[in-house]
């Protein structure tokens, strides 16, 4: 379980939120929606151990992320993945990034890496793109490739910043199917968007919880037919 405990953050215009509690159980899918500059990306960063909140802490299975030992953040990052707004990768090809992900995952043998790489790229609609320079891809392709690269390690917690906006609405079916599949495997998915598209296949479990400037909504991780409107 991933928990936010009494989180407080201060933005340029003042306090973004304070005393924010949340608990994401294994197999949950959560959407953080809100206007620009509301702190959605910062919240994802806090969840990924990229920046200490001004108050409170993040806990994974009861182990604090920021008030733990120096090994707490690396240990958390080993089991989590983030698809952020930008990936600073120089002139690397998509295949190079899979190679790096493989190193981060404990040096997966090359044959296995290539097989998983091909399967993941096909899944995100980019078959045979391993040789392309990452930066030369379109924004949607970059976002999908980044998602495939992140999935390579099989993270227990997957954080995504504006995946629908960046990947494109025509890929929402693929994304929601992927989120469901990952949730069935017991993984926690948290993604941030300005707003959920009206026809987004995953429906809210309950009314969202307002937290300062943004709304935190748990989505149905079952099949579309199970969704409640």
């Amino acid at each position: 379980m991933l928990e936010l405990f009494r989180i407080g953050m201060i933005g340029r215009a003042g306090t973004l939120f304070d005393g924010f509690d949340a608990a994401f159980r294994d197999g949950d899918v959560w959407a953080v929606t809100g206007p620009p500059s509301s702190g959605k990306s910062r919240l994802l960063g806090v969840l990924h151990g990229e920046g200490k909140p001004d108050a409170g802490d993040v806990m994974l299975d009861g182990v604090p992320l920021y008030r733990g030992t120096s090994e707490s953040v690396p240990r958390f990052r080993r089991v989590s993945g983030i698809v952020g707004e930008a990936l600073d990768v120089g002139t690397h090809t998509v295949g190079d990034l899979f190679r790096l992900a493989s190193l981060a995952a404990g040096d997966v043998p090359e044959s296995e890496r290539k097989a998983r790489e091909a399967a993941l790229l096909s899944m995100v609609g980019l078959p045979g793109s391993a040789g392309f320079v990452f930066r030369s891809l379109s924004l949607s392709e970059q976002a999908r490739a980044a998602l495939a690269i992140e999935l390579f390690r099989g993270p227990r917690v997957l954080l995504l910043d504006a995946p629908i906006a960046r990947i494109g609405k025509e890929w929402t079916e693929m994304l929601s199917a992927l989120f469901r599949a990952l949730a069935r495997e017991g993984r926690i998915i948290v993604f941030a968007e300005r707003e959920l598209p009206p026809l987004f296949p995953m429906k809210p479990v309950t009314e969202g919880t307002r937290c300062g400037p943004f709304l935190l909504t748990q989505l149905m991780a079952g099949s579309p037919g199970e969704a409640v409107g």
Binding site: V73, P74, R77, G81, V89, H92, L103, A104
Partner: protein, 297 residues
Amino acid sequence: MNKVSLIWIDWKLAGKSLAREWLNRFVMFFLVGGFLLTMLAGKGVNRFLSEQWVVNAVLRLNVSAAEGVGIAAKARKMAAVRSVVYKDPEAAWSEFLADYPGLESLRLEGGNPVPGYLQIRLLPERLTAEDIAAVENALKPLPQVEKVFTGAKTLPRLLRVREWVNLALWGFFLLLSVLLFSVCAMQEASRARALRSDFGFLADRGISPAAIMTGRAAGSALVAGLLALPATGAAGMVISAATVRFPALASILGPVEGVVRSGAFPFVVLYLATVPCLIFVASLYGWRASKFHNPGK
């Protein structure tokens, strides 16, 4: 990713450029190691000087060849003496004629007028004013010895020059070592900068930057140790072959194999142990110079 994998992280991320770097380093280890072996084998310029500096003990005219050989044998037993060559009166006469041709008539009047003599060379490390004085004091009282030429007047100045030259040569070795360290540190910094985004990628995925830093430094040190040994060995073989091919060089350097047997060998071991340590530090310096930081901390 485990610690063993991190040792080879640079090879996995930039194998080709790293291979070129290590080829350069092999050449540098060869040159620095070769210079060190040259210095140890020749004991700086001591061996060259001890080869050139000869104490001559001129025997009296009536000293027989057998007596001369006996005195030479006794001189050889002295601790500071490396070699003694006895030139009997006939050999001395031949040398005299070679140097002053046309004086054959000197012998017609009363036999050989040139006495036999001993050429005494001291050990490189025993070419000191005290040891030369000891040799002179041992030979001078002998009734068969007419005169001992030690060059004592110019010796102190020469020995002072020798010390300065040796100091300058060791200084040059130190300079080479500093140069080696600087080049390696620059290579390490340049590589760390080039791989900064890769390290950032790994750090974002839970590989601790401190573990990357120490892992790649340990890898560099390990490869340095593995390369410094054959590079220094190759330098030793080249120097050894050169001394066989050019005997004049042998008189300056002496046998390189002797370094292994002599008390200088620990210095070679110390050098081979220091190289990996220096490269480890160079790698850490390179990491620091690349200004890599983990955005998460």
